[in-house]
Symmetry: C2
Subunit: 168 residues, 2 copies
């Protein structure tokens, strides 16, 4: 439905994509969906872990004392707080994460990676990294992978944690 209207803006003011824009958007959107699915599939199959769960565990493994406020966990997994809360509950049931009130008395909840959770990340990382390399890095030239990083940074500035734009 993006390519039925070729003029840039119709009566309702919608700025439809031009043919040139579609030629970039179609492969990009297909790649987005396919890559997320492929990374998720590998982790579920080999590590019984979702991509979202992996991002949470890996992020905590890098944090000071392997601990972050839940609001920061939402940022690193780029999900809404309610969605992250649900995902962290699942990780907690597996014994990989614990949640506890912040000791400062501030009304926030902290998430901490357990030893078992750390072992889980260490065991899951090699398969994930190999998949990333095979699907994303190996097919590109070094120059292209660098371009992809810079392009991603520019798109990220439009996106706020929680997945919606600050302007909305």
């Amino acid at each position: 439905m993006l390519d039925r209207v070729t003029e840039i803006s119709d009566a309702a003011g919608t700025r439809w994509l031009s043919d040139t824009e579609l030629a970039a958007w179609m492969p990009f959107s297909a790649m987005l969906m396919a890559l997320i699915t492929a990374l998720d599939t590998q982790l579920r199959r080999d590590a019984k872990l979702s991509l979202f769960g992996y991002f949470v565990l890996a992020g905590l493994s890098e944090a000071p004392e392997r601990t972050l406020p839940m609001s920061q966990v939402a940022v690193l997994a780029n999900g809404s707080l309610s969605r992250v809360s649900h995902a962290v509950s699942a990780l907690e049931r597996q014994g990989w994460v614990t949640r506890h009130p912040a000791p400062s008395g501030r009304r926030s909840t902290l998430a901490t990676l357990t030893e078992a959770g750390y072992a889980k990340v260490v065991a899951s990382a090699p398969g994930h990294v190999e998949t990333v390399r095979r699907l994303v890095i190996d097919p590109l030239t070094k120059q292209q992978f660098g371009q992809l990083g810079r392009i991603s940074e520019k798109i990220l500035t439009e996106l706020t944690p929680g997945g919606e734009c600050a302007r909305e």
Copy 2:
């Protein structure tokens, strides 16, 4: 967990990412998750439709007689056949899609977009297109968006429908 080991390959043979590779991978992976979430959030909020469901409806709207075999629907939504089947069931309950056996006698199932489904895509497209433009196209130069399209095509060649690589 991708940046703890800086050597290219460790004793177990894992080809960890170099600092340069990490500098591209980290924003790219964050952008992937955040963009999917943002596109999904806009569609759920404004059109009561998931991003996955939108891709299915939009793909059918472009097909001859607005009909595709379910195996092709899986390709366009880049999901596994079982996941797509589940998603199409939800679209069927809304009255937007019907499923029926292929008339040729081949043992395949076809999915057809209904008139209500077509109207749903037409009504949902402008908000989706505006979000795509605002979050992805406007922040980039034309050259960068073109690079992104070509990079995506190269990554797509490594990805097969169903979300996993043919080599596995």
